[in-house]
């Protein structure tokens, strides 16, 4: 049974198959058709809903999410808000009123999703008012496609909704809502009944997760589902045996050590953001271009690594940083350098009964630099054609500890060891970089696919080295003013 609140009212749904999405639940079982399907793949945002979960202070925090790829079972102990639940009688919520007055809808099909993303932005602004910048608006709305308006009126609505009378949805009157939601979470998710159903199990601690993995080694793990669910919606695979890691406390921890941070595998990108902003600005900047807020709110670092896609965005960065993994399972825990994790196309060193417990991010050493460049057809919410992450130190004018990691250039994310050698111990000279480019050209044979031709990948990867050289030259030459990066791509 899924026990949750929908627009302030308790709902208990039984007989929901494990691979049902929130969108299917809403549209076909609950008769809530305000939430639309535009793609069923997390890309368009038409299905955007807000999910409220109790935070550490027991207050409900709402994030926007793609209902089409969110497992219905993950609603357990949550407050789901849909477009039908925003107004107060006839009085529109500011997100809605602003959209009407700014002429923010034409065909209206994207509108419920846009309104929900505006709603979560409005909620966030209510808690922590902050000036809305181009960047913060893109972060809030980049996952909502609109084919009609061209977005200008939607931008205006986002900018003006703060000036509307703050009409609360009717459910916001209920003082006990947060407590009741929290109660459901505490009680129900650990009930033996839930575990006995067997097929969608959400353990709350590491010991239970290990035990479940022992009993059901072939059960699929699900975290944010932002990769996994596409198998259901796009390939029509039946996912009938799932273990949800989102609730496992140990996998949600961020542990600081003198050397760096252990990031629990189930930590979402949104939660990781402050740490990245503070310690790895280049990585944080990449995350602005990683998918959309809907995806970042649910997707996890563990999922990105486990998915082992050659075009996953974080693995090259993690490789450049010498990240390590903690792999865990019924047979105990072991550590593995990330570089040894990826074996071949989508093949990893993870054993059947294992899972990723955490990822270790080493602190940047003194003088260590990190640059990350993502190349895609569209700046926002697009998968990389090529991604490069470079780390190095400059010591007495020569480059040391050179790490050049690439995605999109081979069957797995990996470092360009020969190009690294060409630069190691060298000053950033044209000759050294030419040698590195030649080595790079030799050690990768990228492929041609829908995101780019092999030649394009080769040329741009090589040009990323060139950009690095130009930046190093510019840094050492106070007279150079010419920009080498576009504003929106700079970090």
């Amino acid at each position: 049974m899924i026990d949750f609140y929908l627009n302030g009212k308790r709902r208990q749904c039984t007989d929901v198959s494990p691979d049902t999405s929130v969108l299917e639940l809403l549209r076909t079982q609950l008769g809530h058709t305000g939430t639309k399907e535009g793609c069923a793949s997390g890309d368009c945002g038409a299905c955007t809903v807000a999910i409220g979960e109790p935070d550490d202070n027991g207050e409900l925090r709402y994030h926007n999410a793609n209902a089409c790829i969110t497992p219905a079972h993950q609603l357990h102990g949550c407050h789901l808000v849909t477009v039908e639940g925003l107004s107060r009688g006839d009085a529109l919520h500011p997100a809605q009123a602003a959209m009407v007055e700014c002429h923010g809808s034409q065909c209206g099909f994207c509108t419920p999703g846009i309104v929900m993303s505006l709603f979560t932005l409005h909620e966030a602004q209510r808690r922590h008012p902050a000036p809305l910048t181009q960047e913060s608006l893109e972060a809030a709305l980049g996952g909502n496609l609109c084919r009609c308006t061209g977005y200008r009126p939607i931008r205006d609505a986002a900018l003006s909704m703060g000036t509307y009378p703050d009409t609360h949805p009717t459910w916001a009157d209920d003082p006990d809502l947060a407590i009741n939601v929290a109660k459901l979470r505490e009680s129900a998710s650990t009930t033996p009944e839930l575990a006995a159903q067997g097929h969608f199990t959400a353990p709350r601690d590491l010991a239970t997760l290990r035990e479940l993995k022992r009993q059901r080694p072939h059960a699929r793990l699900v975290a944010g589902a932002t990769d996994l669910w596409l198998e259901a919606t796009q390939q029509l695979k039946v996912l009938d045996d799932l273990i949800d890691v989102r609730q496992v406390a140990e996998l949600n921890a961020i542990e600081e050590t003198p050397q760096g941070w252990w990031i629990g595998a189930a930590v979402t990108y949104s939660r990781l953001e402050p740490l990245l902003e503070a310690h790895y600005p280049a990585f944080a900047h990449l995350m602005h271009r990683f998918a959309s807020s809907q995806i970042r709110n649910r997707g996890t670092l563990g999922g990105n690594v486990a998915n082992a896609s050659p075009i996953g965005d974080t693995p090259p960065v993690l490789l450049a940083l010498d990240a390590r993994l903690s792999l865990d399972g019924p047979d105990g825990e072991r550590e593995l350098p990330l570089a040894e994790f990826f074996l071949d196309y989508k093949k990893t060193a993870l054993k059947d009964n294992e899972f990723i417990r955490a990822i270790f991010l080493p602190r940047l050493a003194d003088g260590q630099n990190l640059k990350v460049w993502k190349l895609s057809k569209r700046r926002e919410d697009d998968i990389s054609a090529v991604l490069a992450a470079f780390a190095w130190r400059l010591e007495d004018g020569v480059m040391r500890d050179v790490h050049l990691a690439f995605g999109g250039m081979a069957a797995i994310p990996r470092r360009a060891s020969r190009a690294e050698q060409a630069l190691e111990g060298q000053p950033p000279s044209v000759a050294a970089f030419d040698a590195a480019k030649r080595a790079l050209h030799d050690e990768f044979q990228p492929m041609t696919d829908v995101r780019g031709a092999a030649e394009y990948r080769q040329v741009t990867a090589s040009n990323m080295l060139e950009r690095l050289r130009l930046i190093l030259v510019a840094a050492s030459n106070k007279n150079s003013h010419a920009e080498v990066t576009l504003d929106a791509y700079a970090h």
Binding site: T82, V100, Q106, N144, R147, Y151, R155, K377
Partner: protein
């Protein structure tokens, strides 16, 4: 009815005497009629309609190969799959099996020959959508695969066309080319475009008691769907009713290509006697339906030292896919727009309709016009580099002007002053020349980041080129509480057509907009309608609605003159008017005022009909395909845009940093809606030319078949500076509805300024001596490859120069 409703609460009555304009009438920036429903989730789309619990759901079995013969189709396991209710193939179609909209060539299911990946082989109806989709996978399909023809240029060379080639000629272009001081010859590829309407193809059919069906469909052309469904079922048209409330986007993609699903669902509904639903999952929608035609264009043009065109030869080849669909008219429109806003001189324009093994390409905002314009805009840039002038200078010199004001198909361009005014005003507003200087200087000092700037105009012909489609009907009812219902043949897809038509009626009847309601478009209310396309929705249906409203008004005036104030000699018929919810007769203090509700009730009691049907057909237009001359367009809509870009020449990535637009809508019917169309059209046009890349693999399978791989503009692509204005002071020179102009398609082509700005930025790599070929979409990949090619050529050129210097 026996008694009339009490209208003492009549708002026009309570507000009487207050000096106010009837709110929301034509010309006002009223919000979309469904805006509140959109934002609350109450607006209902096809898949939101509540169906009976026993409704069945359809999934389609599609061809995995592009070309071949179907040798075996074994559906036994499909039929046995859980939840399956019915399975049909071509042999189960009771009536017509060819559903080609204009010309034959579109079989509803494959019979024998397979012509593209995604062509329908069979359909499954099951208890749930998922059950139907899973059952499809059980089919055993064997195909004798044959080589697919995927290259339209090669197809054209082999003479493989879906329709005959058409040629337009004006003057002795060959002689002009021979004698021209300069001649340039270039080619380009202009990519297609996926509609990506957010609501995919969807339809729901209920069987009726009399062997017919009611069809609810997301559809731009209900009357055509009615016809095709009737033909497929082999029943009279009056047994089929098509209803269409709103689309979640259409853009041309639901003009002809919404019908097949309606036909298939109708067959199943009749066979099972159950309500039948169909909706295409996104990836299927993208594979199965046609797109904007990709075009291969070339020109050979002669010009003088000023860069002014003397004439030449232009060829456009549209990649039509496997069947004619609307390609005849689409390639015609590309040809009609190969001049854009410029006088071509003595020219031949040839249009080929190449047949390839892909989905049948179809209507998409601009209907071939944009693809045709691209060739002349390319030429403007190329010629400018050749004669060493700024591209804007060359564009201005070539604009239609007095003495050079007749198109290559013989139509006179009437609003010359408007065209020049737009360009000149925009040039000033956008500060073009100062920015040009700043950019040239910036580029000289910036080796990697290059900026580009371009102004491109638009002149777009308004009317269906198929003359008979230029007609419309409307049905207007006034009820005895004074509320008004209007229906017309147009369909609402977000463009605000219904809002505008309500505004027209409100203005004609002097009422508040709340009093006028519009409901779903239905074939049993207004029959034999044209598609909502060619930007003509408001022009045609607005006029038809106005005709109906005018009839009611005149009828009420006649009635009022005879009925009211008889003792005072009756009312003055001459000066009567409807305003602010009242009938007013006479002037000033002595004027008589009768509230609308009272007027209506009195008319009813006197047995005056309160219903009228309106009709409109566009005057003046004609085109003779034999002579390739005529006046296919009632008028032209104009506009211009200036775009600025910054290009990273190491990666090919770029940003559009500023856009200024000035667009002509005549006297606007609704400025807010018109601005929305201009902005949305521009961004969609920009997407077409930049990030939206369709890719097929060698086997002819579309690999960019979802939003993960096909990238339409998103929030961050909105230019940070985006100044959009409607041109003021130029009412339509033709008697269109309130002298407004169509606005659906024309702004789409303003997106060309972004592409031209990219070429400008790249051209700076050669010191503005060369303009690179830049096929579209100009993805970062294409931009980078163009930059690399220019750099390579520059390097060799400099090397050559240096060697020759050495020799000297």
């Amino acid at each position: 009815m026996r008694t009339l409703t009490d209208i003492s609460q009549d708002s026009s009555r309570t507000r009487r005497g207050v000096d106010r304009q009837a709110s929301g009438g034509a010309g006002a920036a009223h919000p979309h009629e469904s805006a509140i429903k959109h934002v609350t989730g109450r607006a209902s789309y096809i898949d939101d309609i509540v169906a009976p619990a026993d409704a069945v759901h359809i999934a389609l079995g599609l061809s995995p190969v592009a070309h071949g013969r179907l040798t075996r189709l074994d559906l036994e396991k499909v039929k046995a799959a859980p939840g399956v209710v019915d399975v049909i193939t071509i042999v189960d179609v009771p009536g017509h099996t060819d559903i080609g909209p204009v010309f034959p060539g579109d079989p509803i299911f494959v019979d024998d020959e397979i012509s593209y990946v995604g062509q329908c082989l069979f359909a499954v109806a099951a208890e749930s959508h998922k059950a139907a989709r899973l059952a499809v996978k059980q089919a055993i399909v064997e195909i004798d695969e044959q080589p697919a023809s995927l290259d339209p240029v090669a197809a054209a060379e082999r003479g493989e066309f879906v329709r005959p080639t058409h040629v337009q000629e004006s003057g002795d272009w060959q002689q002009v080319l021979d004698g021209a001081p300069h001649v340039l010859e270039r080619e380009q590829f202009v990519g297609g475009q996926e509609h990506f309407y957010l609501e995919g193809q969807a339809c729901l059919v209920t069987p009726t008691e009399d062997e017919g069906v009611v069809v609810y469909t997301s559809n731009q052309h209900p009357s055509e769907t009615q016809k095709l469904v009737a033909e497929v079922l082999n029943i009279p048209f009056h047994a089929v009713t098509v209803e269409m409330r709103r689309m979640g986007g259409g853009f041309g993609g639901k003009e002809t290509q919404a019908s097949p699903w309606a036909c298939i669902a109708a067959i199943i509904a009749r066979r099972t006697g159950r309500t039948t639903r169909i909706r295409l999952p996104r990836a299927e929608d993208m594979r199965v339906t046609g797109k904007r035609h990709p075009f291969h264009n070339r020109y050979r043009l002669g010009f003088d030292d000023q860069g002014i065109l003397l004439g030449g030869d232009i060829t456009v080849i549209g990649d039509c896919g496997y069947s004619p669909d609307l390609s005849e008219a689409i390639v015609d429109r590309a040809m009609f727009h190969a001049d854009n806003a410029y006088s071509l001189g003595q020219v031949r324009v040839t249009g080929h309709r190449a047949k390839t093994h892909t989905a049948s390409n179809t209507a998409f905002r601009g209907f071939g016009g944009p693809q045709g314009m691209m060739i002349i805009e390319a030429a403007m840039d190329d010629i400018a580099r050749q004669v060493g002038e700024d591209p804007l200078t060359v564009r201005k010199r070539n604009l239609y002007r007095a003495g050079r004001d007749v198109t290559h198909y013989g139509q006179k361009v009437e609003q010359l002053e408007l065209l020049h005014d737009i360009v000149m005003q925009l040039e000033a507003k956008s500060d073009y020349w100062a920015r040009r200087r700043a950019i040239t200087e910036f580029n000289a000092n910036s080796p990697i980041i290059k900026k580009g700037l371009a102004l491109t105009p638009v002149k777009f012909g308004i009317s269906f080129t198929a003359k008979h489609l230029n007609q419309a009907g409307a049905l207007l009812h006034v009820y005895t509480d004074g509320s008004v219902m209007i229906n017309h043949g147009g369909t609402e897809m977000g463009q605000g057509l219904h809002t505008k038509v309500c505004q027209v009626v409100a203005r004609e009847l002097g009422l508040d907009l709340e009093r006028v309601r519009i409901t779903a478009t239905r074939t049993d209310k207004v029959p034999n309608t044209s598609p909502t396309a060619a930007s003509s929705g408001a022009d045609l249906n607005g006029q038809a609605a106005r005709d109906a409203a005018t009839q009611i008004r005149e009828r009420l005036f006649d009635f009022a003159a005879a009925h009211f104030f008889k003792d005072q000699g009756g009312l003055d018929r001459e000066g009567m008017r409807l305003e602010n919810g009242e009938l007013v007769a006479g002037e000033g203090e002595s004027a008589h005022r009768i509230p609308w509700g009272e007027l209506v009730q009195a008319a009813y009691m006197s047995r005056i009909s309160l219903s009228a049907k309106g009709f409109y057909s566009t005057p003046l237009i004609h085109y003779d395909r034999q002579t390739a001359k005529g006046r296919p367009f009632y008028y032209y809509a104009h506009g211009a845009a200036v775009s600025e870009v910054s290009v990273d020449t190491l990666s090919g990535e770029y940003q559009v940093t500023r856009v200024d637009i000035l667009h002509d809508v005549g006297d606007s019917l609704n400025p807010a809606i018109d601005i929305g169309q201009v902005e949305g059209g521009f961004i969609q046009g920009m997407g077409w030319l930049t990030s939206e890349e369709l890719k097929w693999n060698e086997a002819g399978r579309l690999v960019s078949d979802g939003p993960a791989t096909y990238k339409i503009p998103t929030f961050g692509d909105l230019p940070p500076v985006f100044n959009v204005e409607l041109m003021q002071g130029h009412p339509n020179s033709q008697a269109s509805i309130y002298r407004s102009k169509a606005v659906g398609e024309p702004p789409f082509m303003l997106g060309m300024s972004v592409w031209s700005a990219l070429r400008d930025a790249l051209s700076s790599l050669t010191g503005y001596r060369e303009c690179p070929r830049l096929d579209t979409p100009a993805t970062p990949e294409r931009v980078l490859m163009a930059a690399e090619a220019l750099r390579r050529r520059q390097a060799t050129a400099t090397a050559v120069e240096e060697t020759s210097d050495d020799l000297a």
